[in-house]
Amino acid sequence: MDILIQLLDSTLRLSTPLLFACLAGLFSERAGIFDIGLEGKMLMAAFMSAAVAAVTGSVWLGLLGGMAASVVLSLIHGVASITFRGNQLISGVAINFLAAGLTVVVSKDWFKLGGDTPALGDARFPELALPFSEALADVPLIGRFYSDVLSGHAIIVYLGLATVALSWWVLFRTRFGLRLRAVGENPESVDTSGVSVIRMRFTAVVICGVLCGIAGAYLATGMSAGFRQNMTAGRGFIALAALIFAKWRPGMALLACLLFGFLQAVSIRFQTIEVGNFQIPSQFVEALPYILTVVILAGFVGKAIPPRAGGEPYVKER
């Protein structure tokens, strides 16, 4: 029981960066812009948030800095793939490379610490205790769950959960969301009704940048205390896998990210898992998100159908 509580606690923390990156990808891809640059944007945001927080001493300014840096990369992706109708995958790969190199070079120049940012003392997101968490701790089951799993995380974690609901509402209950989804399915029809496809897609890409920025900032200023080179360590790609796993739906994205976060927590906690006489190495557990995604893509468990106009630049009829 104790172990399960600890695993779930760890799951919630590890899922949060995945969740933000996954929702970021959701907005972008629902609007027809494939984005494999999530990793790069997170990395850039992680660096910028840690750098700004280290210099100003304010974690909130750091968050803003991280979001701004990520949005800049998003706009580069937008200009390349929307305005100039370039290949979205290539542009995304370029962003990953750009971020991996640029963060280290700039950081070496600014801080002279070989690519790291200085350790952040108090300029980090503190862990919040939810109201009544102590009073409820003795209530069996639910009390433990509330006080040990839900309570005691950085504010970003709760923001992440709220963002899932907000994303669902925006995408499926507002006119803006309808248009955004239509741009990803059938941009001609949106164009015919007099809404600018270009503008809708740019809006989606900027939202993607903002959410990626929060993901990166949480990595550098919430989960750890500073930036280290390449610290995203593939989390952007796991988020992308989660997006496919979730079939481009916000609620499912939450479940997918929690599942993948749980797998990470398990692999961290147990180096080897013994089932009878058979040992499952932790590497297998770590690789499970990718394996599951391939299974889904292969059509074994339902079908994952991407937005129909995804990956294709929109060309007005001439």
Partner: protein
């Protein structure tokens, strides 16, 4: 054609004379980076100390990816750097290939002792002996009866740290529970502070109140998580006590700086090939004591550890070396 030959010949002559003129020592820094606050930084500090004391200059390069190992090593040799210090076991197969091609260049490699070349000095540290001492300190400082270890990449070398640590802890308290976790199985495990921090939180929830990190850059996250949870941590390679003053019990020193300094000072003339052991007796390994942890290390603790140190040097205590038989009796 003849003109071409002349030009090439002249070019070669210039290149040769350049090599003759430049006999600076060289340092090849491994993937963790020059400022990893640990292994590589220690070597860099040793080189800096040599430069400050002798007024000499040295050449350095920093590896950026696995693929650059051979290219970098050859480039360094061709630039005329001599002797060249190479960091880390991951370069063993590369240096095995490169060293015979440059018989006049002297190489030294840290953490390797199984090669054989007339121009290669191999420097191996007895990390298990140093880890034994900090393991004792961990067990004495622990109130919960559980201590833990976070390794970087899951390899024999890191298990050597873990095994010595466990043996030391159990020498103080036979019933102590030692939790051992590795960060990963790829070189990325040296640079993932987020995962390091999460592993540490997991260990704390299992009751650990002293955590020893031997994980390169990942260790920064381990020490941070320990300081956040207000438990003690133990640093590695360089003296990391200052990172969280008053919360780092000690650091297991691996005097890579001394090894680098010695090779640089000996120069080409004083170079000796073969295997060198850096152990407790030669101050190659040890534990750090400074103003940042003075309050944490009691006199009793210090006396016990110093006695054990003397016993290990005298041969009365044998610390098991994991890489001898790939197993650890203390786990």
């Amino acid at each position: 054609m003849t003109l071409m030959t002349k030009i090439l010949g002249a070019g070669a002559a210039v290149a040769m004379s350049a090599i003759g003129a430049l006999a600076e020592p060289g340092l090849i820094i491994d993937l963790g980076g020059k400022f990893d606050k640990s292994f590589n930084e220690s070597a860099y500090n040793g080189a800096q100390r040599w430069a400050a004391e002798t007024g000499g200059t040295f050449v350095e390069t920093e590896l950026q990816s696995e693929a650059q190992r051979e290219q970098n090593m050859r480039k360094m040799a061709e630039r005329g750097a001599n002797p060249i210090v190479v960091m880390g076991f991951a370069n063993a197969s590369t240096i095995d290939k490169v060293a015979p091609d440059y018989p006049d260049t002297k190489f030294a490699i840290i953490d390797v002792n199984w090669l054989d070349h007339p121009n290669l000095r191999q420097i191996a540290f007895k990390e298990h002996e140093g880890s034994y001492l900090v393991g004792m300190m961990a067990a004495m400082a622990s109130k919960s009866g559980t201590v833990s270890f976070v390794g970087g990449m899951d390899i024999g070398l890191i298990n050597r740290f873990a095994c010595g640590y466990a043996q030391g802890a159990k020498a103080v308290n036979a019933d102590i529970n030692v939790i051992v976790n590795m960060t990963g199985t790829t070189p990325a495990a040296w640079n993932d502070p987020v995962k390091g921090g999460e592993i540490t939180r997991g260990q704390i929830s299992q009751g650990s109140d002293v955590v020893y990190a031997a994980a390169g850059g990942t260790g920064v996250g381990v020490l941070q998580a320990a300081a956040d949870a207000d438990i003690l941590s133990i640093g590695v390679d360089s003296n990391q006590n200052y990172l969280h003053s008053g919360k780092v019990l000690t650091s297991m020193l691996k005097r890579v700086d001394n090894a680098t300094y010695n090779v640089f000072s000996a120069g080409v003339e004083g170079f000796e090939a073969g295997v060198v052991d850096m152990d407790l007796a030669s101050d190659g390994v040890g534990y750090a004591l400074d103003e940042h942890n003075a309050e944490l290390v009691s006199d009793e603790m210090k006396a016990a550890v110093d006695a054990a140190r003397a016993d290990i040097i005298a041969g009365k205590i044998t610390v098991h070396n994991f890489t001898d038989d790939d197993s650890c009796p203390s786990f």
